[in-house]
Symmetry: C2
């Protein structure tokens, strides 16, 4: 956890005023730059010290054997792990023969700023070497949103008071040594030197190119760099290298008032099919395009791109400046993760670290895509198009399990399943409904009929087929889905998980509707109106367990009859529970890792009455320990809905600050994309009360006492809306598009170019604060001074 | 499967009349000799060809790392695998410079006979070498029941018609190369050269000794051999060796009428603590004692020991000669597995092969001990004494799981848990009740009060404590045991498994009773009459799920509501199902690997009415595929009880012939000790209707049409009983001990020295034959001709 104030709270940037070596790895994740295709961790320019060196290309992974102590039918044989590819951000500096290293000499000043509007990471250093050479160094780094393959660094050194001799070595380095991963020695072993050299050509026309291929997965990776050097006349530039290193060396002497300025452009490409020469040429071409734009052009394009993004996506929060910063930080990282992924997945950590082996999970569809769908929808379509591209693999997986349709992998990079523990992997079939739901939401929000026909329909049909074959009817005609794992990973292999069943119900109904809308395309997939009717009937028959005695829904059949976890006897250092208790004990008791029934009340709110929501929420709050980052935001939404606004605010804080405070103790491995998305969800779905579907969008705004104003923009059906919420009133603005029918606290009206202001209903008298397991209460949001 | 008649059907022996190379590995298991301490597979004297070379010492194992693709709290880090120790049975033969090898030359005759009364394996060979040297070879092998450390071979060679030059090499060989295990490369890797040489001293006084230590588990193993050579005057004897080999070479020329006779005695010792010199001396001493007895003395002691055994344990079956042979074969293997184990475990395969890594499971207490308890009780006490010795480890395991009392390991050699898949391992808590039940049965059958105090009480208390902490009361005061796995391994992690709950109920009651009988010892264990009262109350409150709609017990909560497995769509080559379907699908459907609810009806028959038994049996028969060898015998018992006598006979055949016919396709890895025990159980508990407990023994004899007479002997409370069952009548004989009250079909009477004959009630009109899943019917027992 980051206990000291590592980052300054500013509305449009994340600033670190001095180097905190104890959280170096965390800052590398926070300061990571990415465009969804290329990702650079915020490693120091000179490479060390480092927490975890990282340069990633979306979907470049290595295979490693999964050795099961006891194997069984259907277990995956191979794991996939994201590869740290050729590092192009490395720039070493020698000052008077002394390497610049923050651990030596005197660091007078060290500041890093992630600028959320410029899309750059800037570093300012004032340093005196052990041999008394004193310099100022400024570097600015970007990963271009407009040039998918390209990153750039501007690097400037100047002496302070006295002349210095300076040598700068700018490199491409492959197969960097990574720190031991500790928990899993096999992952580390497989990823030792994953890249096999194919080409390391000396710079031609100033462009150096290296081509590697991954050892087992056979993916070809090319990296190239080009430099523009601006220094005194005596400046010398040389190029060279050895096996996995390509290097440009710049040597000069600087008098006070002089400076050395280096502009480094570097570019990446990868392919499973294209040849070495083709990959070589590809990066050279990418560099040529970037050179044409130049450093200033790249920066200007970057800012323009972000201006457009914030125009449609910005959220303003008054009264809680930490959350204000965090929600923009989160939106920025979502954009970075998705905007140029282009039919590749968005992993749980984006391209900010190697956590979870770089895998993509259900988080993407369930948490990340809802935010992108309403703010910057193209990446949502891209991710779902990627899902469609792996449909044949998912269909093969279903067939292997004796099921129809598609069984999407619980975790993957290349589309093949690679969960090593099936009760919390293969059995979590709800991912199929989560994907289907993301399709339905995207189509609802954009009205994109072509997408619905070409991408949506096959996904909805394949997932609906799965549910039909996965469940069965009982003697009373009720449809059950047995032996599956819901979102809560402290339960597994249970019957009739409410979240799964409700989401399957929606999946079946959506598929039926889409078949009816596109009967011709449906016919090509071998489905008919007959299937649609059957799916609808199944949806109606789906069983939802309810505990009459307690008056609450049972997360899955029998759950509420189980023993309640002994929270009183659980010590604070025994969280997360999964590291201190066996699965068998967690599974058979009432203890919830993350919102499950509560998530169902968010995603499928219509299936519950208000009274049920209130009772269910209170019941599950007492059982939920939030050992997952995929929980607080959902709890915030439901807390807001049931009127527990202060509790909702606390959960919002937890979701939003997950990485800026390292609340999960693993930000070193990458940021938590879904939790960052969750801060938007908590604000918009929680305090904004936004719900959309079936062509209708509605709001039920209500603010906690600590937030004086909340304003957000979102896109729906070709409109750009701004919702401006104050404590007593809400004003709706239609910024783009034709008039839109919407609802405010149930009052329906049509919003046109005139802003419409509505009273927020007086908040209900808050009941007694709902209790969490002892010690698991969210940290209260303190009222801010001033 | 052994499809041809590999073995001749004889009442007191298992005879192979010619060498079937296709079932060589299976015959090595069938012909294995053991006394529970030392085990020799029935490998050919000359070592090859072989299926699987094997020499085992009870509890000599090697550790190997268990690498989990995804690890979690409480997973064991080490596996244990039985070690193939120094091979002392190797005797190579050269005839006129040509090695004797059954694959070359002409094998005129090759016979092997396992003599169940002599306790020997004899082999008779008539062979002409490729170079026309013709010999007869006779070897007889025994593992002494009376000298725990000792095995012996008498080996005789004589020429036929023409003189031959003969060289015999008799060896001790360590670290034999084992065939690839195939499925699990890590097991093979870890067990490559497990023995590290400590000493290989040349023969002193004709005694050669080798001492090794296992690489990781650090167990010291000593082996010694001594020879007596009887041959023509020109016979020369030399001794020598190299690293892992010690060899005595005997060279001679034999004229027709002459013969070379070698008597080889070899002995073993092992220890985790004793020094190399101590181990050396131990085997030399064992050999000295064996030399004193001499070959004839060893054979005579062996026969005497077996005479005593059969006196108290024999079973006669008329009308089914295959079963007659098989039940004696089974009893012989049980005796071999247990009689000198002496406070070491009885593994699932005894010491006949390395199957299941040489581990001991619940099979021992649930199937093997019931037979030994009533026939040859000392090994039953020994095994339970071993369980008591590992109680501290089981208590540590329980504490690791947050439980009280003891959690015995699902599979182990050294007492540490080493299941690599927890849903079918750690979660199978019923093993604790199985151990407790074995205690209760042993005490009931023997009246051994000292055992009850010293061994039984601590085991009963520790297991009762487990159940108390594992379960919980619901709002209605019913006690539930959630999230456990019962005997049926095609279900897992279920609530309120009937078998587990009923056995836990018995465990709690037995513990309460024993506390009351030994309050002083109970106090030392920290348990009081208060605990006894609580345990009894819990026992009364234990919930037993029952499906009112179907009128049957649900194997566990919700089981009967699940989808029924699609048996019609399952192809014959898809059995065993676990190799062709994922666990997730097996677990969530109604399909039963092995008797579970039906086993509960056997072990806890009082908990069911006759009508319930009949309905339950029919219901579960239709779901049970018998993909485990731990099923047919239990199904036989219940089939007999519900009046399906022909079906019971079929199941008896399947249990009895498991290894003589290789019905499970894995007899190569060792015989199935529990299924062999099951043939006795099927006969005695099934057709004899024997049930005992609480100081009462009762019978309900009833024979199927194919068995004309069944007679068995058993020991109960200091008596030796013989029960002689014909189709219409049963005669009870009291062979030893004071008069005994017993019951015949519910009629109570006291049996004294006068035989008592009672009518068997007319069998009920058999209902329609109960159905199994298609293709999973047991093979019918054909009526025998003559």
């Amino acid at each position: 956890m980051i206990k000291h104030p590592a980052f300054i709270v500013e509305p449009w940037s994340v600033r670190e005023c001095r180097l905190h070596m104890d959280v170096l790895a965390q800052t590398e994740s926070v300061f990571a730059l990415s465009n969804g295709h290329v990702g650079l961790r915020g490693n120091l320019d000179e490479g060390e010290p480092h927490g975890l060196p990282g340069t990633y290309l979306n979907s470049v992974y290595e295979l490693r054997p999964l050795s099961h102590a006891e194997t069984a039918y259907g277990y995956p044989e191979s794991g996939q792990t994201v590869v740290n590819v050729t590092n192009g951000k490395l720039i070493r500096l020698l000052v008077d023969d002394e390497p610049f290293d923050v651990r030596y000499g005197t660091l007078h000043e060290h500041e890093r700023i992630l600028d959320l509007r410029a899309g750059t990471l800037t570093r300012k250093v004032h340093w005196t070497s052990p041999t008394k050479g004193e310099i100022r160094l400024t570097s600015t780094r970007l990963v271009s949103f407009t040039h998918r393959a390209v990153a750039a660094i501007r690097y400037e050194v100047e002496p302070v008071d006295h002349p210095v001799k300076v040598v700068v070595q700018s490199e491409l380095v492959a197969n960097e040594t990574l720190p031991e991963s500790g928990s899993d020695p096999r992952a580390a072993a497989a990823l030792e030197d994953p890249l096999v050299l194919e080409e390391n050509l000396p710079a031609l026309d100033g462009v150096a190119v290296m081509v590697h291929i991954t050892r087992a997965s056979r993916l070809r990776v090319a990296a190239g760099m080009w430099h523009d050097v601006d220094g005194p006349e005596n400046t010398q530039v040389d190029a060279g290298g050895r096996e996995h290193v390509s290097r440009v060396t710049i040597a000069t002497s600087l008098e006070p008032g002089q400076r050395l300025r280096l502009t480094k452009l570097f570019a990446y490409g990868w392919s499973a099919q294209r040849s070495r020469p083709a990959m070589h040429d590809q990066v050279v071409a990418a560099l040529a395009a970037a050179r044409l734009a130049g450093w200033d052009g790249l920066c200007a394009e970057q800012r323009r791109f972000l201006d457009d993004f914030w125009e449609g996506a910005d959220v303003e929060v008054e009264g809680d400046t930490e959350v204000q910063q965090a929600v923009r930080f989160g939106l920025f990282h979502l954009l970075q993760a998705g905007c140029r992924a282009e039919q590749r997945p968005i992993p749980g950590k984006g391209l900010t670290g190697s956590g979870y082996d770089g895998h993509v999970f259900w988080d993407t569809e369930a948490f990340v895509l809802p935010v992108l769908t309403y703010t910057h929808p193209q990446p949502a379509a891209d991710v779902l198009t990627w899902r469609k591209s792996i449909l044949p693999l998912a269909e093969r997986r279903a067939a292997q399990f004796g099921l129809e349709g598609a069984a999407f992998p619980w975790r993957t990079i290349n589309g093949e399943a690679c969960s090593a523990y099936w009760p919390a992997g293969a059995a979590a079939f709800h991912i199929n409904a989560d994907i289907a739901d993301a399709v339905t939401r995207y189509v609802d929000a954009t009205g994109d009929v072509a997408f619905e026909r070409d991408i949506g329909l096959p996904l909805l049909v394949a997932t609906a087929r799965l549910w039909r074959s996965l469940g069965h009817h009982d003697v009373d005609g009720r449809f059950h889905i047995d032996g599956v794992t819901g979102p809560d990973e402290y339960s597994a292999i249970a019957d009739d998980n409410v979240y799964t069943n409700l989401m399957a119900q929606r999946n079946l109904r959506s598929a039926a509707e889409v078949i009816i809308r596109h009967p011709d395309r449906a016919e090509q997939l071998g489905v008919t109106l007959e299937d649609a009717a059957i799916w609808r009937n199944i949806a109606t028959a789906i069983f939802i367990p309810y505990d009459e005695h307690l008056g609450v829904h049972s997360q899955s059949e029998g759950f509420t009859r189980h023993a309640v976890w002994d929270f009183a006897a659980t010590k604070p250092d025994q969280y997360p529970l999964l590291l201190h208790f066996p699965y068998f004990d967690l599974y058979r008791k009432q203890v919830v890792k993350q919102a499950d029934l509560v998530l169902a009340m968010h995603t499928c709110g219509d299936a519950f009455t208000s009274e049920q929501k209130a009772r269910n929420f209170a019941y599950y709050e007492a059982l939920t320990v939030r050992d997952s980052s995929l929980s607080a935001c959902t709890q915030a939404v439901l807390a807001a809905e049931v009127g527990q606004l202060e509790l909702a605010h606390d959960y919002l804080g937890e979701a939003a600050l997950v990485d800026l405070r390292d609340l999960q103790h693993n930000t070193r491995d990458g940021v938590h994309m879904a939790s960052l998305a969750g801060s938007w969800i908590a604000l918009v779905d929680g305090f904004g009360g936004m719900r959309a579907g079936g062509g209708r969008i509605q709001f039920a705004p209500r603010l906690p006492s600590g937030i004086t104003r909340l304003s957000f923009r979102l896109r729906y059906r070709g409109r750009l809306l701004q919702v401006d919420i104050a404590q007593r009133t809400t004003t709706y603005h239609l910024l783009e598009g034709p008039p839109l029918p919407l609802a405010h606290h149930g009052e329906e009206f049509t919003l046109d170019e005139h802003p419409a202001t509505r009273q927020n209903p007086a908040p209900p008298t808050p009941g007694p604060r709902i209790r969490q397991p002892p010690g698991r209460e969210p940290t209260p949001r303190r009222p801010e001074i001033g």
